[in-house]
């Protein structure tokens, strides 16, 4: 038999008092988890779309030149970790993201270089064929097709494309589909060379050991201290995972700050509300506690009873809220956000970390209110029904 004063006895026998409070916590956890993971999803989106930067680094000539200067290329050639340096033509296709349309790079390379790069990212052709030399054709990985809602044979870039640098004077068709999680698009060097005369040529390099890439990048052009590396920032720029993320995080920093303020406010309001709720519930339970105190149950034990009731309720509600958030966010991520170019991690530990203050704050608020009232509790006035 469970002890009559066990917190579980109270919680299971008083659903009308327990459930509303639990419901508020569940909702609040979902709200915070959703806001936090949506905020974090921008970071994840960048990491997803530009994941090719884990496999190779772009070196882009600065405005004045049409290709990377020889002295800069020589520096690359001196790095022992570098496996291959490939010069490629580039053009851009549009992709949809949360922040609107963005240009995504298409690499024009020789068939041999293309095979090498695709092998590097372990992308294999699942549909169609590779682009023919000189033809306005591309092979792209599945996520890009999904993002653009295109299929084999559709035009991915053309003269009428909106926005910035994306587009092509001739319509470019998708002739092949690559199976890969990594966003990648490739064409032929002969096509880019004769079509995009004014677009500078890039270098891209790989390392013998893929995990060395970050080290080499940092040596060539350190994040935040571009001038301190081997490459000269006046002549070239590098597109690396580290500086992409640094830029995104920097530009999103005020958004993150706003989000922190919002979630802190929500948690505070919820804690305040639940403090008031537990105050109301306590008022309803004064006869209960008055009689128990008269029977000789110490205030400390009564306090522990309430604390445990609150802790158990908030922890269970938090767990339910978290599980519910995982399911709902997984659903939303797959069915709503992905189409809009937003990658949301439904199990983002950072987001759930943000929900942890909810049970803590509620428990502390409830404890403080109840402790104050319990100290003033007068058993005699309860018994005398005053």
């Amino acid at each position: 038999m469970r002890h009559p004063l066990s917190p579980f006895t109270y919680l299971t026998r008083n659903p009308s008092k327990v459930l509303p409070m639990g419901f508020v916590i569940v909702l609040c956890v979902f709200l915070i988890a959703a806001v936090a993971s949506i905020a974090n999803s921008i970071d994840l989106t960048v990491r997803t779309i530009y994941r090719y930067t884990e496999f190779f680094t772009y070196v882009i000539p600065q405005r004045s030149t049409q290709s990377v200067p020889m002295d800069q290329r020589a520096i690359l050639e001196m790095q022992p970790e570098i496996d291959r340096i490939i010069e490629g033509g580039v053009f851009f296709v549009n992709i949809k993201t949360v922040v609107g349309r963005l240009p995504f790079v298409v690499i024009g390379s020789t068939p041999e270089e293309r095979d090498y790069l695709l092998k590097r990212i372990r992308a294999t052709l699942v549909e169609g064929r590779m682009p023919e030399e000189g033809k306005p054709e591309v092979v792209v990985s599945q996520p890009i097709l999904e993002n653009r809602n295109l299929k084999l044979g559709d035009v991915i870039a053309g003269p009428l494309d909106d926005g910035g640098i994306a587009g092509s004077p001739v319509p470019v068709k998708v002739v092949g589909v690559l199976k890969s999680d990594i966003w990648v698009a490739m064409s032929s060097r002969t096509f880019t060379d004769k079509t995009f005369l004014l677009t500078p040529k890039c270098l891209l390099f790989t390392t013998k050991v893929p995990s060395d890439l970050d080290v080499v990048n940092e040596r060539l052009m350190p994040v935040g201290r571009k001038g301190d590396g081997f490459l000269s920032p006046e002549k070239v720029n590098v597109l690396t995972r580290a500086n992409l993320l640094a830029e995104v995080r920097d530009s999103l920093s005020s958004m993150y700050m706003i989000m922190e303020v919002v979630s802190a406010t929500v948690i505070f309001v919820i804690a305040l509300m639940s403090g008031m709720l537990s105050n109301i519930y306590f008022t309803q339970r004064i006869p209960e506690f008055g009689v128990l105190a008269a029977l000789g149950i110490s205030r400390a034990r009564l306090m522990m009873k309430i604390v445990w009731e609150t802790v158990i309720l908030t922890v269970i509600a938090w767990a339910i809220g978290s599980v519910l958030s995982v399911f709902l966010l997984t659903y939303l991520a797959a069915n709503v956000f992905k189409q809009r170019g937003l990658f949301l991690d439904a199990m983002d530990p950072w987001a759930y970390q943000h929900t942890l203050p909810i049970p803590v704050a509620i428990t502390i608020f409830a404890m403080v209110t109840v402790w104050v009232r319990l100290k003033r509790l007068d058993a005699v006035s309860v018994i005398e029904r005053r």
Partner: protein, 224 residues
Amino acid sequence: MLSCNDICLDYVEATRVTHALKGVSLDFSPNKLHGIMGPSGSGKSSLLYILCGLKSPTAGNVALDGTSITNMSDAACARLRSQKFGFVFQQPFLLNYLTALENILVGINPDELSASVQKAESLLSYLGLDGMGDKYPSMLSGGERQRVAVARALIGNPDIVFADEPTAALDKDNGYKVMSALADWAVDHTVIVVTHDADMLKGADVIHHLIGGCLVDDQPSNVR
């Protein structure tokens, strides 16, 4: 033995002071049913609360077996109440989300719980509540509820049972049932019953009369 010495109690309100008790001294000899009688407002309840440590007197002292309980800490006093005292109030004050059996067991230490369940069931049948252990208070009559409250008072095997108008909310029949249970207990324990109904104190060993906060006489009235 429980005794009190020169107990005074003043209720101080904004402008008025009520002298509820004006120097009450009493010894409650063990193994007896003590009745405290008096008109409304004479200070009976106040005296009872002071005797059991729920209230502090303005002056005077209460002692249990020679140890003063008047200046005990809250926690020590609570321990004393749970270990040595039992209570029956005018209303049963059962917790509505607990069954009759669980209500009887609220004050029991968790580690003594399983040993006490059997005892609680025998108390239920002793009080004529066979098979009602699973019922919630809302499913019991007023008299049944009060008998559950008596069982709750007796389960901890208290040396002293305090009862404040335990029969006031009951009809005569139920009142006698409660009083006879208390009288049985008084055979080898101390029972102190406050009431203004002389009928209910027919089985009392000693009756103390309180009028206007003063003890009027202290004579055995109806010795068994």
